[in-house]
């Protein structure tokens, strides 16, 4: 798995398009449910984006942050397993949203925290992690 992370409109999609040939885009912005990636059996390269939306959709149904974090981790583990089984490639696009002021609303604070934890949990499972900044791409060292 590979991770691309950067701020709003930083150029993350273009960075992925430049590096991967004909990937399948599984996007929350196009209305895809997170778990529906499992039906894409023929895909060789799978890009998943809109994780902040998928987290946001689960906030109301799961008031416990730790349990919600673990639920997202299970999705990452399933993707990693699928990648190994299929011999394919999984690309995760995550939004960096942790560098502004702390939001006043509880849901927004939870979303920001969970998105940050997801980024950490994704990074440790990915072979490579990339930071995208104003269209430039830099590999993050461990």
């Amino acid at each position: 798995m590979q991770l691309f992370i950067g701020g709003t409109c930083a150029g993350k999609r273009d960075a992925v398009r430049r590096r991967f040939d004909a990937p399948h885009w599984h996007s929350a912005h196009a209305g895809c449910r997170l778990e529906a990636w499992r039906s894409l059996a023929e895909t060789r390269c799978l890009v998943l984006e809109g994780w902040e939306r998928w987290i946001g959709q689960r906030l109301a149904g799961e008031p416990d942050d730790d349990r919600l974090r673990q639920a997202m981790v299970r999705e990452l583990d399933a993707l990693q397993y699928w990648e190994a089984e299929q011999g394919g490639e999984v690309v995760l696009i995550l939004l960096e949203m942790g560098r502004g002021i702390v939001p006043l609303g509880t849901d927004k604070r939870r979303l920001r925290d969970l998105n940050g934890w997801l980024a950490q949990d994704a990074a440790v499972r990915c072979e490579r992690a990339w930071y995208v900044w104003n269209g430039q791409v830099k590999e993050l060292s461990r």
């Binding site: 701020g7 709003t8 409109c9 930083a10 902040e52 949203m97 942790g98 939001p103 927004k108 104003n134």
Partner: protein, 185 residues
């Protein structure tokens, strides 16, 4: 030569940009200009401007132009060095200033930047452009803030693509993304 320097609030980006403009002017000769995109403002804003002016020191010809960057460039002599500080303020004035908002949109703003970069190269003016990293917090909910952020990021990506030197400043330390002669990602 064109440089793009960005970072968070009080990251040291202006000081780094000023040092770079001084160094490039020393190497290339010509006059050194400071283009302030801010104008007017309240007492607190004037104090900020005064603090920046004092930190810059002597040897700068100061220009003030809130929106029309190409008109400001025309006032720079060929072979000079121009420090533009900053794009975030310029972008907000282009979209929302009562004087310009009804006339200019994002596409015209992008076209203005394209023209600025091309004319600077054509007239052998060295450009050092300063901006702010404002896109790594929570995504905005307000449509107008989204519009502003998308516009500013579009301008950033354009300038970064065209620039010879691209630097992100964090805690006063410059992180080099691109430097003349080095490979572009």
């Amino acid at each position: 030569m064109i440089a793009f320097i960005s970072g968070g609030a009080r990251s040291g980006k202006s000081a780094h940009a000023e040092a770079l403009a001084r160094r490039w002017q020393a190497e290339r000769g010509g006059a050194r200009y400071y283009l302030a995109t801010s104008s007017g403002g309240n007492d607190e804003w004037q104090a900020r401007i005064g603090r920046h002016r004092q930190a810059r020191g002597e040897g700068w010809i100061t220009l003030e132009e809130p929106v029309d960057l190409c008109a400001a460039l025309e006032r720079v002599e060929s072979g000079g060095t121009l420090l533009l500080d900053c794009l975030t303020l310029w972008a907000s004035q282009l979209l929302y200033s009562s004087e310009y908002a009804s006339e200019l949109d994002e596409a015209q703003g992008v076209a203005m930047i394209e023209r600025l970069l091309a004319e600077a190269r054509q007239r052998n003016v060295t450009l050092v452009i300063v901006s702010n990293d404002v896109n790594e917090g929570m995504p905005p909910e307000d449509a107008e803030v989204w519009r502003y952020l998308a516009f500013l990021q579009r301008v950033h990506r354009l300038v970064v693509q065209e620039a010879d030197e691209v630097i992100q400043v964090m805690a006063g330390l410059p992180q080099v993304w691109k430097r003349r002669g080095e490979e572009r990602s």
